[in-house]
Symmetry: C2
Subunit: 229 residues, 2 copies
């Protein structure tokens, strides 16, 4: 009873005082006094808030208003996906479809509206990826950067973070579960096609490019799943 309440009251504290990310919260003893609860209960409430990214705790230093990033959600999402996978569900595929849905919904709005700076950044990323592909190096990080940069122009922080969270969860689980026999050259070519489509301003073509890109990943996923049966 008290625990749920404590969380609520700490959140209220943050909202009421308009505390920005990074602002210091009262120390544990102060919170005990302030909320009239024991140390333990206060700590449990803080732990829960920490798990939701609302609060950040630094040992020996203090407690602060969290960045409210989606890092905790990634945890939850990744775990859910892993657990589902082991239970024989196609949870990884569902996660991929989720990403595909969001990105296809966005890319058409994006086509032809990207500022030149972003296009240049994307071009650089594709070239870097082509270099990495030739060397046989891993290009996960570049892939991530490409998708992140693509939607930066939308001027919506939330969108960017959610997409990144989905990407993160997907790749973490994918690495854990299937040793990806990824052909970098195909991925590369598809990224270039996406970039070209967006640059040309043809939204239908952009949407098709995104779908094809995801279709490629999806195909490999289901093939792996089938071979495991």
């Amino acid at each position: 009873m008290a625990a749920r309440d404590l969380q609520e009251r700490i959140k209220k504290l943050i909202v009421d005082q308009r505390l920005p990310s990074g602002a210091p919260l009262p120390t544990e003893p102060e919170l005990m006094r302030l909320l009239g609860a024991s140390r333990n209960s206060v700590r449990e409430a803080l732990k829960a808030l920490q798990a939701m990214g609302i609060v950040e705790i630094r040992h020996g230093f203090g407690t602060y208003v969290g960045s409210m990033s989606f890092a905790p959600m990634i945890e939850g999402l990744a775990f859910r996906t892993v657990a589902g996978h082991y239970r024989g569900e196609d949870s990884l595929l569902q996660l991929l479809e989720l990403r595909e849905a969001v990105e296809t919904g966005l890319v058409s709005r994006l086509a032809g509206r990207l500022p030149e700076a972003d296009l240049l950044a994307l071009e650089a990323l594709v070239q870097r990826m082509e270099r990495e592909a030739a060397e046989g190096a891993g290009l996960a990080e570049t892939d991530r950067a490409f998708h992140a940069t693509l939607y930066r122009g939308l001027d919506n922080v939330l969108l960017g973070e959610v997409l990144e969270a989905f990407w993160d969860a997907f790749h973490r689980v994918r690495q854990d579960l299937v040793e990806a026999p990824q052909d970098p050259r195909i991925t590369c070519r598809q990224h270039r096609e996406i970039l070209d489509a967006v640059r040309s301003g043809d939204s239908l073509r952009a949407e098709r490019a995104i779908r094809e890109h995801f279709g490629n990943v999806r195909g490999r996923l289901s093939r792996v799943a089938a071979s495991h049966r």
Copy 2:
């Protein structure tokens, strides 16, 4: 050090033993023994896992593997949005755009592929909404059901849950922040248009209908925001 570790080990326990949602976890004393930690630490780890929806705790009954629903994410998302709003950011608008992006990405894939049963359910919902609109009653719940039913046919549980989570967070924050001067009849007509478009199998029209629906909500939002300045 230990805390982070405990969470990880409990998660490992669930995954390794392939425990499904609802399966009972060891009791607190057993976990203490099993993990070699104090009651306190175990409880803090469980609290964090509970906040992520991985574990469900029932007072006087036991601890269970959670439904891994997105209920906790809704908390976090809603809080983040409220906090951002009070800090003068357009966080609520961003949340709406996120919903719009996902739904537009999905509806085109949906057009003409919905089973007859779902179409009937949607028809019933629209009619119910029209009745409610005439009576001046609140139609939030019906709106939620409409959007949920719309994407049921995709056979992707994750998608449905994420969308519902977004819907939830949005409406909770919206209710808290702006007394919505919503005109139910417009909303109603737009829902009917979405349904008709999906039924006709015209994906472009469906996408346009969704965009218009969201555009309507968005317009009211920015008007409210402007009047507050």
